[in-house]
């Protein structure tokens, strides 16, 4: 590995020569704002928010697409840089609905965060704003072109990572939107509803259709493992008032921030009214709620009876590929150590 020495914001650092200025800055905790960067994707260079000043070059340079060089002197927060970022944000706000009060994305919106950080406000103007175009044909999420900043993350995640290619930029220039073929809507496209586009959208342009209303600052995040297949994707469950209200992918070695439709959107079963809430005993063909103590008592009665009359091998247990390791372990231990039988199996074969 070749390394180079450079200075960023008066900090001398030594980094791998293959890094970009943005990566180098990041590696020493200097955050550079950006709206279109994702380390999993090729550099896109569209948002221009990551501009920095590099001594020796007249123009501002985008730090995402500039490789580090030996002796480089980089400034990430000069007046010129900040002014440029403010103008970019101003241009975005000029073409963005002023509805942060009620926008679901509020609090989790990069545009909002940067507008706040750089102190840029909405202003009145008589110019054109993007035409209204909403695609709400997908059961899980909705696209609102007016909130879209065309960072292209959704398009690139769909085509490069999910490799479905259901959406793309449509039209050109100011009229560009993110769309499906012939604007027939996501539901009529190749879209597989994985929601990976939703997960990367920095603004409220691609939003899940939530059953619950919640503000991002109200939710807690708990990292866990998805339950829908053997891939074991890592997810954060978003909870509010003891309810799961959303799921976001975790970028790690297993799923690299990707999910499928089930992992991303099928969480409503957790709080579903059909859930079993108490032990049920069938008496005369009808199920009645009983207490746990009663349930254990019945089990003990039955076990004692069959053990005495029929011996250990009259017991059998089906364990579950959906339960945890600890539970599977205990289940087989129950049969082997307590009921003294090896009649234990699970559904690995189905």
């Amino acid at each position: 590995m070749k390394t180079v020495k450079l200075t960023i914001d008066n900090k001398e650092i030594e980094v791998d020569s293959s890094l970009t200025v943005m990566q180098a800055a990041n590696s020493v905790g200097i955050k550079i704002p950006n709206l279109c960067y994702d380390e999993r994707l090729d550099i896109f260079g569209a948002c221009r928010m990551c501009v920095v000043e590099i001594e020796g070059s007249k123009k501002l340079q985008t730090s995402c697409s500039t490789k580090v060089r030996d002796g480089m002197v980089v400034h990430t927060k000069t007046e010129k840089v900040i002014q440029a970022r403010r103008e970019i944000l101003r241009l975005l706000l000029d073409n963005h609905p002023n509805d942060c009060l009620t926008c679901e994305k509020a609090g989790d919106c990069l545009l909002q965060d940067y507008a706040y950080e750089y102190d840029v406000k909405f202003r009145n103007h008589t110019g054109k704003i993007r035409d209204r175009y909403i695609d709400d044909s997908n059961p899980f999420y909705v696209y609102d072109a007016q909130k879209c900043i065309l960072c292209g993350l959704c398009v690139r995640v769909c085509s490069r990572l999910q490799v479905t290619g259901a959406i793309d930029f449509v039209n050109r220039g100011f009229d560009t939107i993110i769309g499906t073929p012939f604007n027939d809507g996501l539901i009529n496209s190749d879209c597989v509803s994985c929601g990976n586009c939703v997960s990367v959208c920095p603004t409220g342009a691609l939003m899940p259709k939530s059953k619950e209303k919640f503000r991002t600052w109200e939710v807690e995040k708990v990292k866990t493992t998805c339950t829908f297949c053997g891939v074991g994707c890592q997810i954060n469950l978003l909870t509010k008032d003891d309810k799961v209200v959303g799921v976001e992918p975790v970028k790690n070695a297993v799923n690299e921030g990707l999910l499928c439709v089930k992992g991303k959107f099928s969480f409503n079963f957790i709080n579903h009214p059909d859930r079993l809430n108490a032990p049920l005993l069938k008496e005369d063909g009808v199920f009645k709620e009983i207490s746990w103590d009663r349930a254990y008592e019945i089990i003990k009665e039955k076990v004692d009876k069959y053990m005495a009359e029929n011996g250990p091998d009259s017991f059998a247990g089906l364990s579950s590929a959906r339960c945890t390791n600890e539970e599977n372990y205990l289940f087989q231990k129950l049969f082997r150590a307590v009921l003294k039988t090896n009649n234990i199996d699970h559904c690995a074969r189905l």
Binding site: I167, R172, T180, P181, F182, S189
Partner: protein, 161 residues
Amino acid sequence: MEYTFDLEKNKDKLTEYKDFLKMIKATNGALMPALQKAQELFNYLPKEVLKIVSEELRIPLAEIYGVATFYAQFSFIPKGENQISVCLGTACYVKGAQAILEEFEKELGIKQGETTSDLKFSINEARCLGDCSKAPVVMINSTLFPLVKKKDVKKILEDLR
């Protein structure tokens, strides 16, 4: 105006087109030639045809649509028999091309980018046809009309009708 693509009527063209696709499918970057050929054959890019392109070239339909909407020469409604391109390049512009475009629009009752309902004419503005010394110029199909004046428009159209 809605146009439906008549599969029966276009059967021969479709066969020709599919043969063309087979021929180019192995070349790198086949999409642009594929779209250009479709535009040439069908006078526009019908959805049905783009789906064939998607299958043959293994390119997602969304990507094809994205490309097709990027380039000004592709259209999603049929172009007229006579495609009128009014040059609005700088030389033509400073010599009054805008008024000529408006005259065509007035005479045909359509806006630029549109096609008359009898599919006879469509108007497009062009970005410099490269005949600046003869400005203002108009190109109809592949015929160039140099030094066009507003009052010539009627006559030009009459000759084509």
